[in-house]
Subunit: 351 residues, 2 copies
């Protein structure tokens, strides 16, 4: 069925091209929290995390339930830091790498939180922020939390092999982080104290890019063309250029992907240079044996919710472009000969 | 980090309680399309579907790729019926039952469609409509499509057993539909012809309810408490009662779940009576050997995109409350002894 004659006309100011949007209300990030595993706690960002687990099981019967618990803890910590009760929340947007995003589903069961499941693999937190900010912008919600998690042992046995199997990992492999991050968003009321609070000002929705890369042990490389695609759209549609931002954060291209990413941006006339950092590179020290670096929906979420947002609050960064990048395959699709489709969503956060 | 002193105040008129929302712009459903498998085509709704496959493989190498293709066909058919080019779309919101929602991911790879992955199992289309309508309401998008799919063979071998194995199914089991549905949304411009077009007026975001039901061969029963929870919130927060609606459509509680659902609504003083239909009951004839009825993200999506919306356009139904209901477990969580958490999202569609 159709009404082909109906031509929609929209207010143009908030829509920038077909992928980018400007948030007139600039939703504020009122609080954030992160929970990470022991290895992540020993990394260079250790002091930024609210909670560092002593072991990956976290007292639960299995790794999957541990992941649900760290996600729940991160969400509750963000709620607490925002001064919100669980019953005051209008929407939690969350996703994770487990099949059917069960870490998120079980984390919020029998709570009072209205829940919207989102999935963009390692880019999930970026999608959650974008959709959450849209609900606020529309006036349909007043308090939302975006969250994401991953768990090393749970992800490895689902996507690849159980760690006990001892499969050798190639140097291009990334280390799925045991981590969860949660970010609380609100539209500040007139007269409220918002100076210094990071605000979401722009976002760019990604498209699914498949460059034919079939090696699931090299996801950073598979995600790079999606990051290029989204960033080219972001800069074209917003009229900004990379120099506008203090920091351009990808999550997670890791070491190998980051090199290719920067080189490709240079060739596109969009030099990111030393402004660029990657969550998968930031999360671990090179000597921590994580090969190309970190990955997992919790990697970008926890690095954003800790280091990035805390340093924004401290005034070190003022204008941050946060680009979640995710590989959208699954083990069956790879076995069936498919390549790895990827996506990147960008969110501009400004203090 | 936190700014606990900041108390957000929002325009109250669009937010109704913490779960429900009123869409001031009432986004219009300008077009919809559905593609289904042979069994679904032989069911009572056969004549409403745009495309009925001759076989479940649809000329593809495997069932998973066939699912991607039927989803892509449904999206393209909806775009065509709306008179939109792929390049004009501001967002596609889609999800499916395959791990990491790969049916959706591969369906849109290397297209020009900005993509947001959503997941709520069989309630996915309801979440997509809700989020898509929010993007329109915010003025951040002008043209969006919400879609969802499932594929019988692909789902059975992922969630349970390959059909070739011949496992016996209990009478409570539901039949995962091979189906995809896509719905195109727009905010009508002033002066446009919108008479008779179904509009999205209200929505209620669900919460994850786990009533302790552990049998994955009885998902309808597991989803009923989530449906009650969302509908009680919907009627309380909107001030409406069941008699307001011509049709209260769940998808998919199937036969057994529907009985329990109606009885529970009666006990809550919210008699739905003969206004209630269920997509899993509507999709097949009892003699089609589907046991309790249909299920799968494509079941509710295809029934909405065909029968419900076409009959709304024809004037048979004017006020429809569409409630997607989804089981949020996975096979591993069941093997680990967990129960089935479920969610229901409600969307009010009015002509």
């Amino acid at each position: 069925m159709a009404v082909a004659s109906m031509i929609p006309v929209q207010a143009a100011a908030k829509r920038l091209g077909h992928q980018s949007m400007r948030f007139e209300t600039a939703p504020a990030i009122i609080a954030s929290a992160s929970v990470v595993g022991p290895r992540e706690g020993q990394g260079p960002l250790g002091r930024y995390f609210e909670t560092v687990l002593e072991d990956e099981r976290y007292g639960e019967r299995c790794f999957e339930q541990a992941e649900s618990r760290i996600l729940k803890d991160a969400v509750n910590a963000a709620l607490g830091a925002a001064g919100w009760q669980e019953t005051e929340l209008d929407a939690l947007l969350s996703g994770d790498l487990l099949n059917q995003t069960v870490a998120s589903n079980y984390a919020v069961r029998n709570t009072k939180m209205p829940f919207l499941g989102v999935f963009a693999a390692c880019a999930t937190i970026a999608e959650g922020l974008l959709v959450g900010a849209s609900l606020l912008e529309a006036g349909l919600a007043a308090r939302v939390v975006a969250a994401a998690s991953s768990h090393h042992e749970a992800a490895e046995r689902q996507y690849r092999y159980p760690n006990e199997f001892g499969a050798q990992r190639p140097p291009t492999a990334q280390w799925t982080a045991t981590a969860a991050g949660a970010v609380a968003l609100v539209v500040p009321a007139t007269g409220c104290e918002t100076a210094g609070l990071p605000r979401i000002t722009y976002a760019t929705i990604g498209r699914v890019v498949d460059c034919g890369q079939k090696d699931p042990y090299d996801m950073g490389t598979a995600e790079v063309p999606a990051a290029w695609d989204t960033l080219v759209a972001h800069f074209r549609e917003t009229g900004r250029d990379p120099a506008y931002y203090d920091l351009i954060v990808t999550g997670d291209l890791a070491r190998i992907g980051s090199e290719i990413f920067r080189e490709g941006m240079r060739r596109r006339g969009l030099e990111v240079g030393s402004r660029h950092v990657d969550c998968g590179v930031l999360l671990y020290r090179p000597e921590q044996d994580v090969h190309a670096g970190g990955s997992g929906a919790g990697c970008a979420a926890s690095v954003l919710a800790s280091y990035i947002l805390k340093e924004m609050r401290a005034g070190r960064f003022r204008r941050v472009l946060f680009i979640g990048t995710g590989s959208l395959h699954n083990p069956v699709s790879i076995q069936q000969g498919e390549a790895i489709p990827a996506i990147a969503h960008a969110v501009a956060i400004e203090a």
